[in-house]
């Protein structure tokens, strides 16, 4: 059975269970606050107790992947929760119960679902100013995601690239060499065929650690750059980490219809040289014809796209 079908089955069991047992986290909290009734709260406590067994295997803490709020507890957490709490009272459900009620045929929850979609879109629309406003009140961890273009000036980081090689996902190899006259990117296919690119402008996409599918806009922006600058020598190299080839990378290629050169570096042999750790988010880098890293940042948004366009144009003009 495919894993996605198994997840669907788990969903069915959860929905069925919630219907028959009246398991509802919001309902149990509301009953406790409003009536002092704790009977339904026992179900929630049982679920919490069982999940606490993960401490035997280790809990990673950041249960979502990437995004500005990854592992950033702060004022955003409290305000986000507070706004949700008001919404729960208005629709008499949390998102989970909303789904259960939809299945049970509640008409009012259809409206709630539509406006839920509008609510998330509204957040998306105002995302950047909200992030700027609340970031000072957020606890930043080592994995803090930088939102602006930067070039690492520290001595630790090798700004110049003279040589690297990495295996591609089809069993071939990519080799970058610094020559006296020109730099070469050699793409060797599994059957031994070689494609040599002279003085390439290299755009490296490093997939986020857990969910390469979750950032379609970043992929679209890179494809836009690819379409605009391929004829001028831009080559896109995608590097995955310890993602499964069959379960993640192949579906990624299918989903986004990419013809990038794709490699995998589960042991971070090359990624370490770029200062990429298992905690580093989706990262994009631009390497010019001379092998100098011009741009590097975590995340890839519209403002990054504009900066990359400018920088690639300058590289093409040999500036």
């Amino acid at each position: 059975m495919s894993f996605f079908a198994l997840a669907f089955l788990i969903g069915i069991i959860i929905g069925f269970t919630a219907h028959y047992t009246r398991f509802c986290i919001f309902g149990s909290i509301a009953e406790w606050i409003g009536l002092g009734e704790t009977r339904r709260l026992l179900g929630v406590i049982a679920a919490i107790f069982i999940f606490s067994f993960i401490h035997f295997w280790g809990f990673q803490g950041n249960i979502s992947c990437g995004g500005v709020w990854k592992g950033y507890p702060g004022l955003n957490s409290f305000i986000g929760g507070f706004i949700q709490g008001i919404g729960y009272v208005l629709i008499i459900a949390c998102p989970f119960t909303l789904l259960v009620r939809l299945g049970e045929g509640s008409k009012s929850h259809i409206f709630a679902l539509i406006f839920f979609a509008l609510g998330i879109s509204l957040f998306g629309y105002f995302r950047e100013p909200i992030v700027d406003l609340l970031s000072p009140f957020t606890i930043k961890t080592q994995t803090f995601i930088k939102s602006s273009i930067w070039v690492d000036e520290s001595k630790k980081f090798k700004k110049h690239l003279s040589y690297f090689n990495i295996q591609t996902i089809d069993g071939g190899k990519i080799e970058y060499q610094e020559g006296k006259k020109s730099n070469l990117l050699i793409h060797q296919s599994p059957n031994g065929n070689k494609r040599v690119l002279e003085n390439p402008i290299l755009l490296i996409y490093i997939a986020p650690p857990c969910c390469p599918f979750c950032y379609p806009q970043a992929v679209d922006y890179i494809k836009e750059l690819e379409n605009k600058f391929t004829k001028q020598g831009l080559v896109v190299l995608g590097i995955f980490r310890d993602h499964s080839i069959d379960d993640t990378i192949k579906p990624f290629i299918k989903e986004y219809n990419t013809d990038w050169i794709l490699a995998r570096d589960p042991e971070y042999k090359l990624l370490k040289r770029f200062d990429i750790t298992p905690e580093t988010f989706l990262t994009v880098m631009l390497i010019d014809k001379k092998g100098d890293i011009r741009l590097k940042q975590e995340g890839f948004r519209e403002k990054h796209l504009l900066k990359y366009k400018q920088e690639i144009s300058l590289i093409i003009k040999n500036k």
Binding site: G11, I50, P73, G80, F96, S108
Partner: protein, 162 residues
């Protein structure tokens, strides 16, 4: 089937499934464990409709695609339960009329939840059932916010409804 299954049984079943999902299922797809998330997953799934709602409005909630199949499963499961327990019929569904006030409340509530889920990086399900037992500070802060929001909204509602 009679509806007399204790809620604690529901909690145990859901807790076990959440644990299984975290430890066994999600690492197969993502090379990293992820607990079940409903609000964020729903948000990501609905995000695909964004192009039809607001152009160029991208946001990243970071919920893996595996959740996308789980979410319709919850609706199907509760639907099956409602049909089996004879609580659902098309006839009564079509006959039910909604009051305007109820529709307005649903719309405002839905909007607030959607916005809050994005800002708080997840909904009650994720933060209470996974983040809290995982002792995640983010989840603890979000839960304090949720409980405060519920408490205040209930007090206001009580006042208005006498």
């Amino acid at each position: 089937m009679k509806k007399n299954i204790p809620v604690i049984t529901g909690g145990i079943i859901i807790g076990i499934l959440n644990l299984y999902f975290y430890l066994a299922l999600s690492p197969k797809i993502l090379a990293r464990s992820t607990a079940i998330s409903i609000g964020g997953g729903l948000a990501t799934s609905l995000a695909y409709l964004e192009d039809f709602i607001f152009k160029n409005n991208n946001f990243f909630s970071g919920i893996p695609p595996i959740i996308w199949t789980l979410i319709p499963g919850v609706v199907v499961g509760s639907f099956a339960g409602a049909v089996i327990s004879k609580q659902f019929s098309w006839k009564s569904f079509l006959k039910t009329k909604l009051r305007t006030a109820q529709i307005i409340k649903s719309c405002i509530g839905g909007l607030l939840i959607g916005f809050g889920v994005m800002l708080g990086n997840g909904c009650l399900f994720k933060h209470a059932l996974s983040g809290l037992p995982g002792l995640s500070l983010e989840s603890i802060l979000t839960l304090i916010g949720i409980i405060s929001g519920i408490w205040i909204a209930m007090k206001i509602e009580e006042k208005f409804e006498g």
